[in-house]
Amino acid sequence: MNLASSNMTLIKCVFKGERLHDVMQAMEDIGVYGMTVWEVKGHGRQKGHIEHYRGLKVKVNLLPKVIMEIVAPNEDVDHIVEEIVNSARTGNIGDGKIFLLPVMDAYRIRTSDRGIEAI
C-alpha cells in the first residue's frame, strides 16, 4: 500500500462543547458539511477540580470536551483548520487541539462511491 498516495486527511479536533455551535456555523460558512461529533473527556494542562459527595472528596481530572472529525481533501485542510481554530478559541487554557491523520481511502455506504467523491 502506498501511503504517499493519501490525498485525504482526517482532521480530528478536541475542543470545548460550548463552542460546538460556532464551529459548526463556521464550517457551514465555508461549505464543509460532512462531520462526525461526540462527547469525550480530556486531560491536559487545564487543571481539574475537586468535587464533594457526602463530604468525600473526589479529584476530577477529566473535563468534558467534544471531538469533531472531518475527513477532507488535503488541499482544503489548512483553511478548515484555520476556521476551526478561530471559531473554537476562547483564549483560555483547555481550548483543545487539532490533529491531522492521513486517510488512505473513503467510501460512501449508500452509493459505494470511493475516494474523494465519497466525502
Partner: protein, 406 residues
C-alpha cells in the same frame, strides 16, 4: 386514646386529619417543583434546582413560623407545648397547611431565575418575601386584616362582595408570579440565551423529570384546592370536580394550539389548575373547563410573548404560568362565579379586579425593593465563569451524575 369520643371530639379530630391530609399532598408538590425545574434546566444546574426547593422550604418553615403566620393571623406558637394542644393542635395543623402555600412563593421564583443566580440572594430573597409581602396580602384576603376578603371589609362595602380567592389563584400564584418578574428582570437573561439579536432557546435536560414534576404538582393540587375548605364539614366535591375539569381544559387547549408539544401539554394542565383555584368553590364544572382552557391558551401565548418578544428569560415560564394565569383565575371567579352564569354567586367582578390589581402592585413593589437591594449589596448573579461551569459545581461542588466521570 380510650376516652369515650363525643361528636365534638371526632369533628375536631376530623378537621385536623383533613388539613394534614391536604398539607402532606401540598408538601409533595414541592418535590414537583424540584423535578419540574430539574428537568427544565441544563445538566450542569440540576443539583442546584433540586437543592434550592427543599432549602427554600426549610427557610420558609422558620420565617413563616416566627413571622409570617403570626403576621397574617395573629396566632403565635411561643410559650410551652402545653399551650398548643387545644382541639388536637388544630392551629399547628393549620400553620402547616398554610406554610405549604407560603413556601410556594420561593418555589415559583426559583423556576424563573434558574441557572444563574447565586445561592445566598436566592435564599435570602425567598425568606424575606415569605416573611413580608406574602403574609401581608394573605392577611388582607384570608387573615386578620378586614380589608379585601372579609364579608364586612372595604371591598365588600364598596362593591357588594369581598375579594373571593378560595384556594389562592391570586394570593399564592399571582403573588408568586409577579414577585418573580422583577427578580428575573434584575437578574438578566442567561449567557447565550439572546445572542447577537437572535433568540437561541437553551435545550432542557429531561422531559421525564419535567413530567414527573408536573405529575407531582397535578396530584398534590387536589390537596391544595380541596383542603382549602379548612374544616372537614366544609369539604366540597364540587371543588374537586372543578379542579379536574379545569386541568383537562388547560391540557387540551394547550395541546391543540401547541400542536402536541409535550412541555406545553403538561404546563397547560398546570395553567388550568392555577386559574381554577380562586373560583373552584363557586363555579360550575363546565365553566371551570372553560376557565382552564383559556388559561392553557394564555400560557402558551404568554410564554412565547415573554420569552421571545419581551426577551425576559423566565426559564420555566413562571410569570405567565403563575402570574398571568393566576390573575386570570382571580378575574374569572368574578365572572363564572356569578349565578347568572351558573355559579353560586356572592362575588363581584370589581372586587376581583381590584383585589388582583392590589396583589400585583404589592408584588412588584416589594420584589423590586428586595432584589434591588440584594443586587446592590451582595449581588444576584454568578460570575460568567461560574455560570459557564454551572451552578452545580460552583455552588454545590458536585454534579448531578457523579459516576459519569469518564
Amino acid at each position: 386514646m380510650n376516652a369515650p369520643t363525643g361528636l365534638t371530639e371526632i369533628v375536631t379530630a376530623g378537621n385536623v386529619f383533613f388539613l394534614l391530609w391536604g398539607a402532606v399532598l401540598i408538601f409533595s408538590m414541592h418535590a414537583g417543583f424540584a423535578f419540574l425545574e430539574a428537568g427544565s434546566v441544563r445538566k450542569k444546574n440540576i443539583v442546584n434546582a433540586l437543592t434550592k426547593i427543599p432549602t427554600d422550604w426549610a427557610m420558609s418553615t422558620v420565617v413563616y413560623f416566627v413571622i409570617g403566620f403570626p403576621l397574617a393571623y395573629g396566632i403565635a406558637f411561643f410559650g410551652s407545648a402545653t399551650g398548643l394542644l387545644e382541639a388536637n393542635s388544630y392551629d399547628l395543623a393549620h400553620f402547616f397547611f398554610l406554610l405549604c402555600f407560603a413556601a410556594v412563593i420561593p418555589a415559583i421564583i426559583s423556576g424563573g431565575i434558574a441557572e444563574r443566580m447565586k445561592f445566598a440572594p436566592q435564599i435570602i430573597g425567598g425568606a424575606v418575601l415569605v416573611a413580608t409581602a406574602y403574609p401581608f396580602f394573605e392577611g388582607l384576603v384570608w387573615g386578620r386584616f378586614n380589608v379585601l376578603g372579609a364579608d364586612d371589609g372595604w371591598l365588600a362595602d364598596a362593591f357588594g362582595a369581598g375579594f373571593h380567592d378560595y384556594a389562592g389563584s391570586v394570593v399564592v400564584h399571582a403573588m408568586g408570579g409577579w414577585l418573580a418578574l422583577p427578580a428575573i428582570i434584575l437578574l438578566g437573561p442567561r449567557i447565550g440565551r439572546y445572542l447577537n439579536g437572535d433568540s437561541r432557546p437553551i435545550p432542557i435536560h429531561s422531559v421525564p423529570f419535567l413530567a414527573l414534576g408536573s405529575w407531582l404538582l397535578m396530584v398534590g393540587w387536589f390537596g391544595f384546592n380541596v383542603a382549602s375548605a379548612a374544616t372537614l364539614p366544609a369539604i366540597s366535591g364540587l371543588v374537586a370536580a372543578n379542579s379536574l375539569l379545569a386541568m383537562g381544559g388547560g391540557l387540551l387547549a394547550a395541546m391543540v394550539i401547541s400542536r402536541n408539544d409535550s412541555v406545553f401539554i403538561y404546563n397547560g394542565a398546570l395553567a388550568g389548575l392555577v386559574a381554577v383555584c380562586a373560583g373552584s368553590d363557586i363555579m360550575h364544572p363546565i365553566s371551570s373547563f372553560i376557565v382552564g382552557a383559556v388559561a392553557g391558551v394564555i400560557f402558551v401565548k404568554g410564554f412565547l410573548w415573554a420569552n421571545e418578544k419581551l426577551r425576559i428569560d423566565d426559564v420555566l415560564g413562571v410569570w405567565p404560568l403563575h402570574g398571568i394565569c393566576g390573575a386570570w383565575g382571580g378575574i374569572a371567579a368574578g365572572i363564572f362565579g356569578l349565578s347568572s352564569l351558573g355559579g353560586l354567586g356572592g362575588v363581584a367582578l370589581l372586587s376581583q379586579l381590584t383585589g388582583t390589581a392590589i396583589c400585583i402592585a404589592i408584588a412588584l413593589a416589594v420584589s423590586t425593593a428586595t432584589y434591588g437591594i440584594l443586587k446592590l449589596t451582595i449581588g444576584l448573579r454568578l460570575s460568567p465563569q461560574e455560570e459557564m461551569l454551572g451552578s452545580d459545581l460552583t455552588i454545590h461542588s458536585g454534579k448531578a451524575y457523579p459516576e459519569e466521570l469518564i
